[in-house]
Symmetry: C2
Subunit: 415 residues, 2 copies
């Protein structure tokens, strides 16, 4: 029997079809987003509902921050107790560091959504994102939940907007894959922008599927996918009290439930990881103030954990990020970041590339046209590659450049 | 017998007198700094010599980055082999990631300085700071060493300037303390600015004393002081391949050599730590683009290591740094950074202050005038205090705000 959690590489022969849409692309899911005036007076949607027309198995992963927002406690309880089939989420306030009243507010949000959707409170996940340490305006939240329930639709695009904070655009992805002779769909929407770092920094991701999946496997698949996707994104090194990724599986595709021993387990897991990766990259690309996506790939490492730690150190370096903004192929900063990643390696056998331009090998610089290396940094997607000569493991991590705009946004976020 | 390394707290009765000056304030030290054209064509001093007129015991600590510049290897060899009594240092090029030729260049710098000073090569420490991955212009270095040797003086102020990179001012400190009936002096100069982080991020510190100190004790005293001072500074989270702190003790004060059992061991250790702390704070205050020094103090922790980890996480948070720039008393970001520090604590028993204004306790916000809390961020020195209720340990860490100017400097450093 195959071990549950053995996610295969995408290079293997699994036919995944990319679809338009997001969290409501799988069968049986509806969503909505409304303006309830929590976020500010901008008229942007700030409260959303996501709902499955039938019961679900559900899985979730949460921030590792010691400080956890009240909604996470409520959602964790619900996911552990049984099957979550709905999500209520608001932007504007994170409802974190809000004491006992914050917890009461999160439970009330859950109860209000359950009532509006005619389901049990324990079937509703709650998520909040925004300013820390202020209480939710519950009258507005309550009115918003009623409006959102009335506006649920298969299109549901407003939901993706309602969860945004300083994000500049919605983030959605969907894939279709064959499982046990049935076509199943995986979809999702996410928000990111600031306070983004491995281990779920102010990131919300709501993923859905119409596949039927056994609960334990669903959790393993989400955990493994998160490790390789959302936890490989960094915007500014800060991880937040509010981060979570939720995956709801409603079985509308009528497949035999996927278990650890299903032949199609890998295909489904790869589809989930692919959707998560596309959302993760969109989060990195839309980091606060970002002008470009930076992808760091480490190849030839002895193991994936080392490759991942190296890639994350490079993509998280303020100096590498500022160099990416300045279109300066400053490979010394890349090597330096690898050096403090905590991973032991031999700098004399490392090779470094900016885009297609090799800039370092055998412990010293490779003669190259600096203009070509700088040009590799001038597009909307930058790739920095480090090749060790230790083994076959590789990992990618994603981030963005550090810009004046990041400083402006975060120097005046609350005012 | 007292354990070597048991540095007493400054609150104990040790009379330290602050002196003007720096690395040449202790008896018997001379220094110089010259323009040799390594750094750029700005006409700023870029090569310096520091020299004791008699033999020294010596100690050094180095970056923990896996990638180490060639000068560190040469200096480490010299310090381990015996007594270093001279330092040759340049700015402009770090001589790191420069392969075999880089190591040859560092050894040649050492030999040239030894010849100019008429000492053994093994008595000379070598330090380089600046761009990574380019070879030193050895003809200029050689001419500069000759000029610097000819210009050595007791004043020696040019040395402090010669080691600067993007620093905006020199950093010096000196203290006098009584040891065994003799007055001994400790002095030092340092450079910092970018790529500064705990574990010696692009930081050079050259400290001196006219005390006689047994070599093993000198190393312990420097190591302990570094842990509490230089390693508590962060500018941008990047630690560099080139960092080192060196401490030379020449015995010109004629005291009985300080050993682990000397009654005055603590007084001397406190003086070294005090000089190191003042240099460390100047490094933080002069961080790239900084407009203010941020001091984070964690009190009431169970142990000093936890207090230190919490303080360093807060002072290193990009979001806290940007909030300091924006004069926004965003305590949620402080609590969040503590939450991802890796230290377990109970958020419900934490108290937070911005300057004198308490903003958080009992797990939720304390009503306060936001203008007062913001005002605590508007001066040149900002203090953020977190009090746990777990024990008596405390620690401070120092950093600076994150500004547009940081992005400008690091987006165009090499061009």
């Amino acid at each position: 029997m195959r071990q549950c959690g053995a996610v295969m590489n995408k290079d293997t022969e699994i036919g995944i079809k990319t679809l338009p849409g997001g969290a409501t692309t799988p069968e049986g899911f509806v969503a909505s987003g409304v303006v309830c005036g929590v976020r500010n007076s901008s008229g942007r949607r700030d409260l959303g509902l996501l709902f499955s027309d039938r019961g679900c198995t559900s899985a979730a992963v949460f921030t590792r921050n010691v400080v956890k927002g009240a909604p996470l406690l409520v959602t964790q309880e619900a996911v552990e107790a049984g099957g979550v089939r709905a999500v209520v989420a608001n932007s504007g306030y994170a409802n974190a560091a809000t004491g006992r009243k914050g917890l009461e507010d999160a439970r009330e949000m859950q109860a209000l959504a359950a009532e509006a959707l005619a389901v049990e409170a324990g079937e509703v996940a709650v998520a909040s994102t925004g300013v820390i340490g202020e209480h939710l305006p519950m009258r507005r939240i309550s009115a918003g939940i009623e409006d959102a329930a009335a506006g649920l639709s298969r299109d549901g695009a407003g939901f993706a907007e309602a969860i945004l904070t300083t994000d500049t655009r919605i983030k959605e992805a969907a894939d279709r894959v064959e499982v046990g002779g049935e076509l199943v769909t995986v979809g999702g929407t996410a928000k990111g922008s600031g306070m983004i770092h491995p281990n779920m920094g102010t990131m919300l991701a709501f993923m859905t599927t119409d596949a039927a999946v056994e609960k334990g496997c669903l959790q393993e698949i989400l955990g493994a996918a998160t490790e390789r996707t959302f936890n490989r994104v960094t915007v500014d090194g800060d991880s937040s009290p509010s981060d979570m990724a939720v995956l709801l599986a409603n079985g509308a595709a009528d497949n035999d439930p996927i278990t650890a021993s299903s032949p199609d387990y890998p295909a489904f897991a790869v589809a989930v990881e692919d959707v998560a990766r596309r959302l993760a990259k969109e989060i990195a690309r839309d980091g606060e103030g970002a002008t470009r996506l930076v992808e760091v790939v480490v190849e030839g490492a002895g193991d994936e954990a080392s490759a991942s730690a190296l890639a994350k150190a490079v993509v998280g370096s303020s100096l590498v990020k500022a160099a990416a903004f300045g279109e300066d192929a400053n490979w010394g900063r890349v090597l330096t970041a690898m050096g403090y990643s905590g991973v032991r390696f031999d700098a004399d056998t490392v090779e470094l590339w900016f885009g297609p331009v090799k800039v370092f090998e055998n412990g010293e610089p490779v003669a190259h046209e600096e203009t070509e290396a700088n040009a590799a940094l001038s597009s909307g997607e930058v790739r920095i590659t480090a090749r060790l000569n230790e083994g076959d493991a590789s990992a990618a991590a994603w981030g963005c450049d550090l810009t004046y705009e990041y400083v402006r946004i975060n120097g005046s976020y609350r005012t």
